[in-house]
Subunit: 214 residues, 4 copies
């Protein structure tokens, strides 16, 4: 049972939890959350985020599968265990003020692309009309770089690499983790979903093109 | 809110809007309209067409997501913004008197084929029984050429290339835009859908064959 | 409207028509009948078969989309036009006494495999456990040959090639037509569906294996 | 009709049969049980297991399609025929005390991977985050070996090979049979499903990677 701190309006929590659970169910139907993987969160207020509880089947989520964490990634008002990767969600909320929703999925395309581009450290997307689905992009003539970070079970290492990328002032709309999956975000659920859907599509197209030029 | 000009029978507009919304929902389910891309239209009368409003999720369209434009592509009776590519729809209605419905989608197959065949400027389809699904084709021994035009964010440039193709008297049943998607049309929704479905299938088969002959 | 000859029990015709329409709807959902292609039939009695009327959307078939033909392929009791390929269905009923149902589909796998193996004239399947889904096969150590015949719009030519194969005493469980699709059959709808599903699967696996050995 | 021995609580049998039938329907929807292939079982008590009756369409299973077998694989309380591969299920229950559910499917990915890795005799999975979905694995830096055994219609031969692998003390979470499919299991239905889903995903990713490095 989630016990809400007085700073959280129950209606706001319910809205966040329902939006996360609905998105998770729809993304699970696409096969992007295999074997209880993937996690999803939404900013509740300046101090707290709602996030999926670890290990649940993402195709059958309800409100009771969502918990609160503070911006250091600690559980708030519950004994449930947040996902091991909670620190990547809270980092996004700390570093990217416009991010209200963070989505992390594990599709086959995302996993394979992350392995294939791990050595280069980046997937460079160019010449695709659908790059315009990323907020701020207005032409296919732009360049959209998605970094690929090495995987690790020690989250602070990943957090440091992402901090370094941001500290260097490079644009960041999403990132891949090698052999693992993608993280992306948006100013609301619709934008985060649009970013995720566009990136899945673009990575799949890029892999297809490589098959022919190989 | 769409305000109908007196020249438009409300029942006719409703019929067009519902047909467009239904087709959009079904094509979205196939994954051919990723990240709010794609647009669809239907000729309402000699002066006007109904077309999808820009940026809406094509999987959740209703009648209120459809607007009127004149044959120059200007909004009629609404402040909604038509798609940036409206000019390609109205060009089809001006140049191809038999076209009553225009469909533009962005499937992965369409996007990848457009990139792969961009240099040749055309996808040549031969020897497939399903070419007979294109009105006017009666045998697999025919040749079906689908041109691939360079992408641009400046619509008049694209319109001019398509005009040039038509002015040269070459047959045109559909065209691809590089890195982008396909445009096709028909004398009614059923024919336009059949053309789109057949072309998606033929492009996918052609890509598969290339994988083996590579 | 179908007018039934006195030799046909209306209940028997209804049963055949419903079974055909249901199978067509389910196969259309799998994407194996693109753009109104494909056709399906069932033996009604020694002289007649029920078959899909030409050009209908296979995903939306009802009883009224099914007609009767005699074993020479002529329409019986209706002005509807049977499929151009009706002669291949009636040949199966004439030559293969155990065949009660004939299914013809156009999946992408079937179309691509037919092009790829057209020169060899046969797809040879060996070493797959699922060969046992074909009636009469009891081990993966058997050899299952699916001939590939050249496509033609002139049916008697195709009928003659199939007759020649049968006259040579070679086993025939299904055949492909180049650039076109597959024909298979069974002693009832369940067996015909099982054969079709197994062959689609085996052709897809065979294509996948070729991709790696290429 | 299944007649239950006095040692079996009818409610326990009903629970097992319903869980098996539900899993079978869901896996069939994914296309992993083509042409009536595949079989599924659950341990009822120390002496008996519930298992799918041979040859039924896995997409339409109900409680009446499930039967009891003893740990030697003989039918109990029914004249129905258990699957030819029942011996592989009962071997798992005899040798792996934690296994409560055994799932065997035939997806295209599983079949193709089994052929491709048959000569090496094993699929080695390394560097994938999703390896953590297998109980006992806590990092992508582990190695997960899935053996590939030669196919045979003579079950005791397969049983002996699997016994030999276990007797050698090698870890076994699943195995492939060449040209055939996969076997995996779990301490309950949820764990067995998670293992199956993760392995299908990992095999598909591994095949994709091979396409690029070929």
């Amino acid at each position: 049972m989630q016990e809400l701190p007085s700073s959280v309006d129950p209606a706001r929590f319910a809205l966040c939890a329902d939006a996360i659970a609905e998105a998770a169910r729809e993304l699970a139907l696409l096969g992007w959350t295999p074997a209880t993987s993937s996690n999803f969160s939404m900013r509740v207020n300046d101090e707290l985020a709602a996030i999926t509880i670890s290990g649940r089947d993402k195709g059958r989520l309800g409100r009771e599968d969502i918990m609160l964490v503070d911006m250091a990634g600690h559980a708030v008002g519950t004994h449930a265990r947040p996902s091991a990767e909670t620190g990547l969600h809270t980092q996004a909320y700390r570093r990217l003020p416009h991010a209200q929703v963070v989505l992390h999925t594990h599709s086959r395309t995302q996993s394979v692309a992350s392995r294939l581009f791990a050595r280069e450290g980046v997937v460079r997307l160019e010449g695709w009309e659908l790059q315009k689905a990323i907020t701020g992009y207005t032409t296919h003539e732009s360049v959209l770089d998605i970094p690929v970070f090495p995987n690790t079970q020690y989250m602070p290492e990943l957090v440091a690499r992402i901090d370094a990328w941001l500290d260097a002032g490079k644009p960041l709309h999403a990132y891949l983790i090698d052999g693992h999956g993608i993280y992306t975000w948006g100013a609301d659920m619709a934008e985060a979903r649009r970013h995720l859907e566009a990136l899945e599509f673009l990575l799949a197209c890029e892999l297809d093109l490589r098959r022919f030029s190989a």
